[in-house]
């Protein structure tokens, strides 16, 4: 899934960094100079899952401007409510088409103008 997402957002002009779970992601974020504009987050991950990561990220003033988008198979109503309540900005359910992902990013103002479909 990371490869697919990497492909989609690279085409939109993003540089991509990856981490395999929430804890690794927080560690990685601690080392970068520039806080990413966007985080695409799965739910089910070992060590620290996506929901826990969202809560931790929203708790960190330094990561305040990072847009948090869940990308996951977890599609029960309750899950989505919890993620949004915890501070996720958007939620993409798998399976999703490339167009759908781009539209969600456009909703968030993250697609450069002129990159419309």
């Amino acid at each position: 899934m990371r490869l697919i997402l990497r492909r989609i957002v690279s085409q939109l002009g993003f540089e991509v960094i990856e981490a395999e779970d929430g804890k690794a992601a927080l560690d990685l974020l601690g080392t970068v100079d520039e806080v990413p504009k966007l985080a695409l987050i799965d739910w089910n991950m070992p060590n620290m899952n996506g929901l826990e990561f969202v809560i931790a990220a929203r708790d960190d003033a330094r990561l305040r401007d990072m847009t948090l988008v869940m990308v996951t198979t977890e599609s029960e109503h309750g899950h989505i409510v919890r993620a949004l309540a915890a501070g996720a900005h958007e939620y993409v359910i798998k399976p999703f088409t490339t167009d759908a992902m781009i539209e969600k990013l456009a909703l968030l103002g993250l697609v450069p103008t002129g990159a419309n479909l």
């Binding site: 899934m1 490869l3 697919i4 492909r7 089910n44 070992p46 996951t72 198979t73 977890e74 599609s75 029960e76 309750g78 798998k94 399976p95 999703f96 088409t97 490339t98």
Partner: protein
Amino acid sequence: MNEHMTPTVEDLREIADQVWKAYLDPEGVRPLIQVDTAVTGTEVSASVSLTGAWDGHVLVSCSNAAAREAAAAFLGMEPAEVTEEDLTDVMGELANIVGGNVKSMLPPNTAVSLPHVVTGSANRFPMTRQIAELAGTWIDQPFSITMWQSSELAEVPA
């Protein structure tokens, strides 16, 4: 519409249609064709386990050629470029997506495991019975999605 406890073959069909539309067949020219007979000739499978209010497994199985094509479609590369790792990743992700969508139809306190991929003959699940099979061919290759429910412990004959 379908307010029932256990997902059915029709539900597997709908979930598969979504996956094909999103990743394996966005242009609608090479769909998964459902067949009546059980599928044979699968060489790689990926499964996720579901536990909680419902216990069992969701298994995605196909031939090596189909897995390679699926990985190519998923990752936007040529089949020849697909590595073993790509294949495992994609099969695992397919099981994750199908299993995750099955799970979302079950009671809320059901958990899904990380995917488990094996090559060779299909995963054997002890103490389970197959409750649904979506048997099909994709690009003339065997492809199936099956659901297995954990059985009660059987009486051991004396």
